[in-house]
């Protein structure tokens, strides 16, 4: 394998103004030499550092619905967010807020039926993933967009060796000879910090610990250096000391590769440590987007503020009861008219119950958005 540098045309059909800037830039091209006829299927674009803020993914008005027992449930109702190269975007919210559904929709992995993507656009490097045929989507999955899941034991197949499962992604996308696949697998396992990777290849998933399984999952996801990595609660099933290892690994890999990451989590601590941008979701909608510093220092939406306040913080003395968000998440079968957070909101007024606020850019800020009639000062 050689790594060559070469002038290549930029991402096709790029609508984004920010992306136009890099059309004239060069790309690193990984090419499986010497067979140049295979090069087209093999080449892998790795964005260079300069494109850091190029939009990799734009989700526009995404709508995901599920039909359960004849009733329609809107899991994601018209969300729009951007993911930039070289940055980690956190999708934060409680269970059922639609954060996983959004991510699965990007991969077109929503189980159909009962689920269905009923509207919107998912622009990945300018191309609408919802419009391409499923065969083409299969070429995108694993190669350009990769995903890691919450529970590494259920995501790995228990009856195949690690080697078999790691080789799958190469077999599907690259058609390398066996010995090269093994060589690359060993390198990937080394990169994610698995000791004695040669020996581990012959192991089955149950022979590895939870943390090591998650490392294998990450190695598999990063095998073909995807432009976008979607991590669905990657550390929720792990212990804190192992979580710290995995988070450190993910940060390191981000620095190395310049890929964009979507991190789905409910843990605000994990968000603070790993994310650059944060998208707060509630009952299928986006309530607030901001940079991680802004959102923790100065949350604008009452829900974001409530979330921040109700987690106990280390090293603080107990002063009265923890603050809570009273009530419950609304029933998504019959979502309320108006703002979905209105029932639990301390700033709720008549307007909130009548009309739903739109996600709007905050006046006087660069990129912050909030969906609230009465945002916090």
């Amino acid at each position: 394998m050689t790594i060559m540098q070469q002038q290549e045309p930029a991402i096709p059909n790029s609508h984004s103004a920010e992306c136009n800037a890099i059309k004239h830039e060069g790309f690193h091209v990984w090419r499986h030499a010497p067979d140049s006829t295979r090069a087209d299927t093999v080449q892998k674009l790795i964005p260079k550092r300069e494109e850091k803020h190029c939009l990799v993914l734009q989700v526009r008005n995404l709508k995901v619905e599920f039909t359960i027992e004849g009733r329609r449930l809107t899991a994601v109702s018209g969300t729009s967010f951007d993911v930039k190269a070289g940055r980690t975007t956190g999708l934060v919210g409680e269970s059922g807020c639609g954060k996983s559904a959004s991510a699965f929709a990007v991969m077109r992995l929503i189980p159909t039926p009962p689920g269905e993507i009923t509207g919107g656009e998912i622009l990945f490097k300018g191309r609408d993933l919802l419009k391409i045929p499923i065969e083409e989507m299969r070429l995108v999955r694993g190669k350009e967009i990769a995903m890691i899941f919450q529970e590494p034991m259920t995501a790995l197949n228990p009856v195949y060796t690690i080697e078999h499962q790691m080789a799958e992604v190469y077999r599907l996308h690259c058609k390398y000879p066996m010995d090269e696949i093994r060589e690359r697998s060993v390198k990937m396992l080394e990169r994610v910090g698995i000791p004695e990777p040669q020996g581990r290849l012959k192991d089955y998933p149950h022979q590895l610990s939870g943390g090591q399984r998650q490392r294998v999952m990450i190695a598999m996801a990063l095998s073909l250096s995807p432009c976008l990595l979607i991590a669905d609660e990657p550390t929720t099933a792990l212990d804190v000391t192992i979580q710290a290892q995995i988070l450190e690994l993910m940060c390191r890999l981000k620095e190395e590769g310049g890929m964009a990451t979507v991190l789905i989590t409910h843990d605000l601590g994990v968000v603070a440590e790993t994310c650059d941008d944060v998208v707060v979701m509630y009952a299928g909608e986006i309530l607030e987007t901001a940079s991680v510093y802004e959102i923790f220092k100065h949350p604008l939406h009452p829900y974001t503020k409530g979330l921040m306040d109700c987690i106990p913080r280390m090293g603080r003395t107990r002063e009265g009861p923890l603050s809570t968000i009273e009530g419950m998440v609304p029933d998504l079968f019959n979502p309320p008219q108006g703002c979905r957070f209105a029932d639990r909101c301390f700033k709720c007024q008549a307007l909130c119950r009548q009309t739903e606020p739109e996600l709007k850019t905050v006046v006087g800020s660069d990129k912050r958005q909030v969906a609230c009639w009465f945002p916090l000062e």
Binding site: E94, F296, G315
Partner: protein, 326 residues
């Protein structure tokens, strides 16, 4: 408040692993390796540690849901492990448990009323009318409406189910409640409601808690004393403030630094200890100190000898640690 309600001394519990032909015992999992502590009335002992460290086994052994291999526990002068069945039943009136998963711990075929009333039936408390009134009163205490009584668990959200679980534990007015990860299956906004409820109940009824959790921030908030467990050993036990301000065991230190802090400004300034490797298997625990293969302070001594839990401060405050290099 020097009234000791529960003392555990040198608790040991192993689980056999069967296999091979004739289903022989082929190995043992050492879940508890000599755990001792005492607990004061009306206080909360937080037990933290990673999965497999024996914290849940400790809770279940104290309730005698497991029989220990050796060691003893004394609850209000009664030796828990030598009680006859009828005396044990009596004891369980005073010791109750709240479980982690509010979906798995409530019988889906029973109404909420019969779930909460079941302990009252088992212990034959009062007449039928009395019991009904009691159940209603308890439901009000945990902040639920009377209509819930005739409904089934699946009709409720996770947070409400956990309230039902708490109500069931409260029904007998126990003196000690062992809460095994009571909030880890809940969303953060619901988690704070349940924590507040538990603290309020403690204040009102003087309940003693053993609060088992892996979330250190929650444990810090809830507990008075904290025990840190690793591979079946208590490696450090101290008053909350002492433990969080002056952690003495390298494991406690790394556990504290491993927690992601929800303050992005601290991301780069904070010193972090990232432990290498995984928790060793409790089937083949390492020799000497169980933490030595991952410890950044380990010396030759740690490989051979097991440090005992010893006082750190010497000023009378509870702070014990099992480490040679503290």
């Amino acid at each position: 408040m020097n009234d000791i309600i529960l003392t555990a001394s040198n608790l040991k519990k192993t689980f056999p692993i069967h296999g091979g032909i004739f289903y022989r015992k082929i190995a043992r999992v050492n879940a508890l390796n000599g755990v001792s502590f005492s607990l004061k009335r009306g206080r909360t002992l937080g037990v933290v540690g990673e999965s497999g460290c024996g914290k849940s086994t400790l809770g279940k052994t104290l309730l005698r849901l497991y029989e220990p291999d050796s060691g003893g526990a004394v609850f209000e002068g009664r030796d828990v492990f030598s009680l006859k069945p009828d005396a044990l039943l009596k004891l369980r009136q005073d010791m109750q448990m709240i479980f982690q998963d509010p979906y798995a711990s409530l019988n889906p075929r029973m109404t909420v009323g019969s779930i909460i009333g079941e302990p009252l039936n088992i212990h034959r408390i009062g007449t039928r009318e009395d019991r009904k009134k009691k159940v209603e009163a308890i439901l009000a205490i945990v902040g639920m409406r009377k209509e819930a009584l005739s409904r089934y668990p699946h009709e409720f959200s996770g947070g409400q189910r956990q309230r039902i679980g708490i109500a069931r534990a409260l029904a007998l007015r126990p003196k000690l409640i062992i809460a095994d990860e009571p909030v880890s299956a809940l969303d953060v906004s619901i988690q704070s409601q349940i924590i507040n409820l538990m603290i309020e109940l403690q204040r009102e009824f003087g309940i003693t808690y053993i609060f088992i959790a892996h979330n250190l921030a929650v444990v810090e908030y809830v507990s008075d004393e904290v025990a840190v467990m690793y591979l079946g050993h208590i490696v450090e036990i101290a008053e909350k403030r002492a433990l969080f301000n002056r952690p003495s065991h390298p494991y406690t230190l790394s556990l504290l630094s491993a927690i992601p802090v929800p303050e992005p400004d601290l991301k780069n300034s904070r010193e972090r200890i990232i432990l290498k490797g995984d928790v060793p298997s409790p089937i083949h625990p390492p020799s000497g100190c169980p933490f030595h293969p991952r410890c950044f302070k380990a010396t030759e001594e740690c490989r051979h000898a097991m440090p005992v839990l010893d006082d750190v401060a010497g000023d009378g405050a509870l702070h014990k640690v099992a480490c040679f290099n503290r």
